[in-house]
Symmetry: C2
Subunit: 105 residues, 2 copies
């Protein structure tokens, strides 16, 4: 068993949004996402087979939904996004990293 830190090993330069699997099983995926001003490509939506529970651990972001109001997420804010709920990241803090933890289940 090795201990890691969710805020460690963040590259100094993040050209594209960074997706890293922490745990990846058929039943569940635990993922760290790092954004720095990144957003989902324009006019693109995430439409996922699994539910996603997501929390912002550092930074700030706005999630946009096709059929619901935008959600602004600050440190510690979390949301459960049911499968096939079309959403996208419309904004993330440009001057510091936003660290997300996502549980796909």
């Amino acid at each position: 068993m090795k201990k890691y830190n969710i805020f460690a090993n963040i590259p100094a330069e993040i050209k594209e949004e960074l997706f890293e699997d922490i745990i990846s099983k058929e039943s569940v995926k635990i993922e760290r996402i790092i954004s720095k001003g990144h957003t989902t490509t324009e006019f693109e939506w995430y439409d996922q087979k699994r539910n996603e529970w997501v929390i912002v651990l550092k930074g700030e972001a706005i999630l946009e939904f096709e059929n619901a109001k935008d959600k602004r997420l600050k440190e510690g804010d979390y949301l459960n996004i049911p499968a096939h709920t079309r959403h996208r990241v419309s904004w993330t803090k440009p001057d510091e990293e936003t660290v997300w933890l996502a549980i796909h289940y």
Copy 2:
């Protein structure tokens, strides 16, 4: 979809360690745990059927293992505890809340 904050709604007084299900499915359980100086009952071990991925989001704690070295967890530290790995919480910060997020899968 409702937004919540993992650091909100912490009771002023925490007599016993607080366990709250955020998501509870057969395949996965997402749980918030709040400790304030609490530890697992002496001589007791957690021996769980499922794997547990655990992160300390605030505060500090020590996990003790039957067959491995103690792990001191600070903010952002995480660990994957395989099923049936006997462990206990031997210490948590006494003067402030320790907020854990545990994913059982």
